[in-house]
């Protein structure tokens, strides 16, 4: 998995060969943060219909992934921004797993940078990689 930062979005990408997926999240620890609307970054034809069922599935998986990661890590992150590519294949549970991996990566990074403080971070992409 590849981790990068683009503005306030933390981004995870996963490429397995037959599939590839992109997920960007704005992760905050403010209480009362509402789960964000999902922004589709895919190049798509003008006026292409929005697949609302897919968007709701994505938001549900992100919400479950954040909750699961928080429970495991003892953190209190919430996603206030979501970016994805609707041209990536909609595999069941893939966004939950990407979310868990991303929250874990961000939690560790922020611990390394000092006391889990939320920061806007660099505005240019910065990336790192972990196994799987």
């Amino acid at each position: 998995m590849n981790f990068s930062k683009n503005g306030e979005f933390d981004v995870i990408t996963r490429v397995t060969g037959p599939h590839h997926h992109y997920l960007g999240l704005v992760l905050r620890t403010d209480s009362g943060t509402a789960l964000a609307e999902a922004e589709d970054l895919s190049p798509s034809p003008v006026n292409a219909p929005v697949d609302w069922a897919r968007v709701e599935q994505l938001r549900s998986e992100v919400s479950r992934g954040v909750g699961s990661a928080n429970e495991r890590l003892g953190t209190s992150y919430q996603a206030s921004g979501i970016r994805f590519c609707s041209s990536d294949p909609p595999l069941k549970d893939v966004y939950r797993i990407l979310t868990e991996e991303l929250v874990q990566h961000v939690a560790r990074s922020r611990d390394d940078n000092g006391a889990g403080l939320d920061t806007d971070g660099p505005t240019h992409p910065v990336h790192s990689r972990s196994e799987s």
Binding site: M1, N2, S4, N6, V11, T13, R14, V15, T16, G17, P18, H19, H20, Y22, L41, P43, C85, P89, L91, K92, D93, V94, I97, E101, P125, H127, R129, E131, S132
Partner: protein
């Protein structure tokens, strides 16, 4: 779909030498072709550039591990495979061929393979 257990299965596959002969005997595919597919899926690093346009820099890396791919490979080893498992091999063979012929871009190779030999999405639909 734990990534840790998928990583372990990929390590097992990488360290196994008998799988090529086993899959060849169950499918009738040539060992040399199966070796190329195994190297492509599990061993070699590729130029992963799918999201460069979104600000994610391309990088040389192995493919990320996936439990469904490892399971398909192991079904092929035991002869319990289905058509979808064979279609996965065909997709990956096409991707690997494209990279050898046209260069290392995963994005280009995957798109070309997907047009001619689409991945078997039903492998990931199963519970």
């Amino acid at each position: 779909m734990s990534t840790d257990s998928a990583d372990e299965l990929y390590e097992e596959i990488r360290s196994t030498e008998s799988d090529i002969q086993e899959i060849a005997s169950h499918t009738g595919l040539k060992r040399c072709n199966l070796s190329k597919i195994k190297a492509h899926l599990f061993v070699e690093e590729h130029w992963l550039d799918s999201y460069e346009s979104l600000g994610v820099p391309g990088e040389w890396a192995r493919f990320d591990s996936d439990l469904r791919i490892a399971a398909a490979w192991n079904r092929l080893r035991t002869g319990n495979h289905g058509l979808a498992d064979l279609r996965l091999l065909r997709h990956e063979a096409a991707e690997a061929w494209y990279m050898r012929r046209h260069g290392p871009s995963y994005r280009d190779a995957h798109e070309a393979a997907q047009r001619r030999f689409p991945r078997p999405d039903e492998l990931w639909d199963q519970e």
